[in-house]
C-alpha cells in the first residue's frame, strides 16, 4: 500500500513564525507570506492587543497552530482544559493540524518552561503513544510531534533517538514535525551522522519542517533561535527535501528578532531551495 507523502497534509510552501514584533508591519504592509505559524499559548484565555492583532492578520493569512506546553511526555495527567482550549483555537484560526514537541515541560505540576528530553525507553514510548491518541481524539485533527534539541540524554540504553521517535509516530499513528536544525544540533552535540538519522525516520510522516539558527553556549550547540539559519542546516534541508519532496518548511526566530524583511528573506530562500531540490528530484535522469 502506498503511503501518502507529507503525512497526507497539504504542502503549504515556506512560512514564518508569527511574532508580536511584526504585527504592525504585517497588518500595514501585508507582505506575501504563504503561512504563519502561531503559538496558541500566546493567545489562549487572552484578549486585547494580541488577540485583536491575530484576528486582523488571520483575515489575510493562513495560520497554523504550534504549541509549546502540551508536555506530551509528562507523567502529570494531560491538561484536558488546555487541550480543549487548543482545539477551540485551532477551530477558530482554521488550523488543519496541530504540532507540539516530543518532550516534557511540566512534571510534578511544576512548569520548567523548557523542552526537556524524555528517556528513550519502551515505557516512555507506550506512555506517549497513549497520550497522543487522546490528544488527537480531543483535537479532532492530526498531531505532529517535533523532535527536540537535547543537551542530555536521560536514557538511551534501550533504544536510539531515531527509534524512539519512529516507534511513537508509527504506534500512535501521528505525524512528525521535523526540525532540521535540531537534527543538525543533536548530531553535533550527541555525535552522530545527521543524514543516517534522517534515513532511519519514517519520513512519510513528516508534514512540516522547522529551520532556525543556533549558536555555541557552555560547551554545546544551543538551539537559540536567535541567529540566521546555518549554512549546514540548509545543506541538510536539501537532503530532507530530496527524500520527502515539497512540504511546509518554516523559519523560526524567537530571540533578538530581526526585521520582518530579514525573516521573509530566509523563508524565500527556503522556498527557492525546496523548489530547486524538488525539481531535481522529479526530473528524469539526463
Amino acid at each position: 500500500m502506498s503511503r501518502p507523502a507529507n503525512f497526507g497534509l497539504e504542502p503549504l510552501g515556506a512560512g514564518v513564525g508569527l511574532r508580536r514584533e511584526h504585527y504592525g508591519e504585517i497588518i500595514e504592509r501585508r507582505p506575501a507570506v504563504r503561512w504563519f505559524e502561531v503559538i496558541p499559548e500566546n493567545y489562549l484565555h487572552r484578549g486585547g492587543f494580541v488577540t485583536d492583532r491575530l484576528r486582523r492578520i488571520g483575515e489575510h493569512y493562513r495560520l497554523i497552530a504550534h504549541g509549546v506546553s502540551l508536555s506530551i511526555g509528562s507523567s502529570d495527567p494531560l491538561d484536558m482544559a488546555h487541550l480543549r482550549a487548543v482545539k477551540r483555537f485551532c477551530d477558530e484560526i482554521g488550523s488543519p493540524w496541530f504540532s507540539d514537541h516530543l518532550c516534557f515541560t511540566m512534571v510534578d505540576h511544576v512548569n520548567l518552561n523548557d523542552l526537556i528530553p524524555l528517556p528513550f525507553t519502551d515505557e516512555a514510548v507506550r506512555h506517549v503513544v497513549a497520550r497522543v491518541k487522546v490528544v488527537q481524539d480531543v483535537l479532532e485533527r492530526p498531531l505532529l510531534l517535533e523532535n527536540v534539541t537535547y543537551y542530555m540524554a536521560p536514557s538511551r540504553s534501550e533504544m536510539s533517538e531515531a527509534e524512539f521517535i519512529s516507534r511513537i509516530a508509527e504506534e500512535a499513528d501521528c505525524g512528525l514535525l521535523l526540525d532540521v536544525s535540531n537534527v543538525l544540533l543533536n548530531s553535533r552535540n550527541q555525535d552522530y551522522d545527521p543524514v543516517a538519522f534522517l534515513d532511519s525516520l519514517p519520513l512519510h510522516r513528516v508534514g512540516v519542517l522547522h529551520l532556525a539558527g543556533f549558536e555555541p553556549f557552555d560547551g554545546v550547540w544551543l538551539d537559540s533561535h536567535a541567529k540566521p539559519v546555518d549554512p549546514e542546516t540548509w545543506t541538510l534541508f536539501r537532503e530532507v527535501i530530496r527524500r520527502i519532496g515539497p512540504t511546509s518548511p518554516l523559519v523560526e526566530w524567537d530571540a533578538e528578532i530581526p526585521s520582518l524583511d530579514h525573516l521573509l528573506h530566509e523563508a524565500d530562500l527556503a522556498q527557492r531551495i525546496m523548489d530547486e531540490t524538488a525539481a531535481e528530484r522529479t526530473a528524469p535522469p539526463a
Partner: protein, 314 residues
C-alpha cells in the same frame, strides 16, 4: 521505578543542580541516595549524564524565567537592583535577577505556562521574601503591583462590550443632560482601580528604558488614585489618574462588566462630593460638578476604563 520517578528526578536535578561531581560511579552513589526509588538501570542512565549537560538546562530554565520577568516587570527588577546596589551588592542586574528567580522558584514553583501566574508569583515572593528591599523603599510594593496590574490588564480576556466610538461620543455631546444620563456604560472586569503611595505612572514614564536606575528611588510622595484600562486602538494598558474621592466613588459604582446608567455613576460622584463638602471642604457648585463629571467620562472612555453598554458600539 516508573517513568514518573525518572522525570521527577530530572526535574530536581535541573532545578536543584546535579550531583556535585566525581566520576560516574560517585555520581551514581549520590543519585541512589537522593532518589532511593529509582531502579538500578535508571540510576545508571542518570549517572551517565555529564553534570555540565544538566547545568545547561538549569541555566536555560532560570534564564528563560528571568527574561520573562524582565519583560513583564522591568522597573521592579531595576528598582530592586538599585536598592541592592545601595546596600553594597555589586552584582549585575542579570545576576541579581537570576538569583531572585532561583529563590522565587523554590518559594513558589511556577505551576502553569502562564506569564500571569509567574508575575503573580513574583509579587507574592517580593511581599513574603524580600523584606530588605521593601524596608529600604516603601514604594517597591506599589511598583510591583503596578507592573502586575499592567500584565493582568494586557492579557485579560476580552469583554463583549465595545469601546465608546467617536460617533457615539459625538451623539452624546449633542444630547440633553437628561438623555445623556440615561446612557449605559460598564467597567470591564479587567479594569483595575488602585490606590498607590505615589504616582507610579509618572515614575514609570521617567524610568522606562533606563537600566540600571541611576540611583535608588525617592520615597513615596503623595497618594495616587488611578484606574488601569485598555486603550481602544492599541489595546495597551493605559493608566488614568483619578482626581479625588468623588471620581473613585463614581468608578467604584460601576460593577465588573455590569451595565449601569450614567445617572447612577453621576449619583455616586455627586454624593461623594456632597459628603466631602459636608466634611468641611468648600460647598459644591453643581454646574462645575457636572463639568467635572463629564470630563471624567471623557477620560474614562479614552483610557478604556468605561465601555459602552449600548448597542452600536465600535
Amino acid at each position: 521505578m516508573a517513568l514518573a520517578g525518572v522525570l521527577s528526578a530530572i526535574r530536581q536535578l535541573v532545578l536543584d543542580g546535579p550531583p556535585p561531581g566525581g566520576d560516574a560511579v560517585q555520581r551514581r552513589a549520590d543519585l541512589a541516595q537522593r532518589f532511593p526509588g529509582l531502579a538500578p538501570r535508571e540510576l545508571d542512565d542518570l549517572a551517565a549524564i555529564p553534570p555540565e549537560r544538566i547545568r545547561v538546562y538549569t541555566r536555560l530554565v532560570f534564564a528563560g524565567e528571568c527574561s520573562l520577568l524582565e519583560w513583564a516587570c522591568p522597573l521592579s527588577l531595576a528598582a530592586m537592583h538599585a536598592l541592592a546596589r545601595e546596600a553594597g551588592d555589586r552584582r549585575s542586574p542579570r545576576e541579581l535577577g537570576l538569583e531572585l528567580v532561583h529563590r522565587m522558584h523554590a518559594h513558589r514553583p511556577w505551576r502553569s505556562p502562564s506569564v500571569r501566574e509567574l508575575v503573580a508569583n513574583f509579587q507574592a515572593f517580593v511581599r513574603e521574601r524580600c523584606a530588605d528591599p521593601l524596608a529600604r523603599w516603601s514604594g517597591l510594593a506599589d511598583l510591583v503591583d503596578f507592573e502586575r496590574t499592567e500584565t493582568e490588564v494586557f492579557y485579560a480576556a476580552d469583554t463583549p462590550l465595545a469601546p465608546v466610538s467617536a460617533a457615539q461620543l459625538g451623539q452624546m455631546t449633542a444630547m440633553s443632560v437628561g438623555e445623556l444620563l440615561e446612557c449605559r456604560v460598564a467597567r470591564p472586569a479587567y479594569v483595575a482601580l488602585r490606590r498607590y503611595g505615589f504616582d507610579v505612572a509618572a515614575f514609570a514614564e521617567q524610568y522606562r528604558g533606563v537600566r540600571p536606575l541611576p540611583s535608588a528611588p525617592d520615597p513615596p510622595s503623595r497618594p495616587w488614585l488611578a484606574a488601569c484600562g485598555r486603550a481602544a486602538e492599541s489595546g495597551a494598558p493605559t493608566w488614568m489618574t483619578m482626581n479625588g474621592p468623588a471620581e473613585w466613588a463614581a468608578l467604584s459604582a460601576c460593577g465588573d462588566d455590569a451595565p449601569v446608567s450614567l445617572n447612577d455613576v453621576a449619583a455616586a460622584f455627586l454624593n461623594e462630593m456632597i459628603a466631602g463638602a459636608q466634611a468641611g471642604a468648600s460647598p459644591i457648585d453643581e454646574a462645575r460638578a457636572f463639568e467635572q463629571f463629564f470630563a471624567l467620562l471623557a477620560r474614562c472612555f479614552d483610557a478604556g476604563v468605561l465601555l459602552s453598554a449600548e448597542s452600536g458600539g465600535r
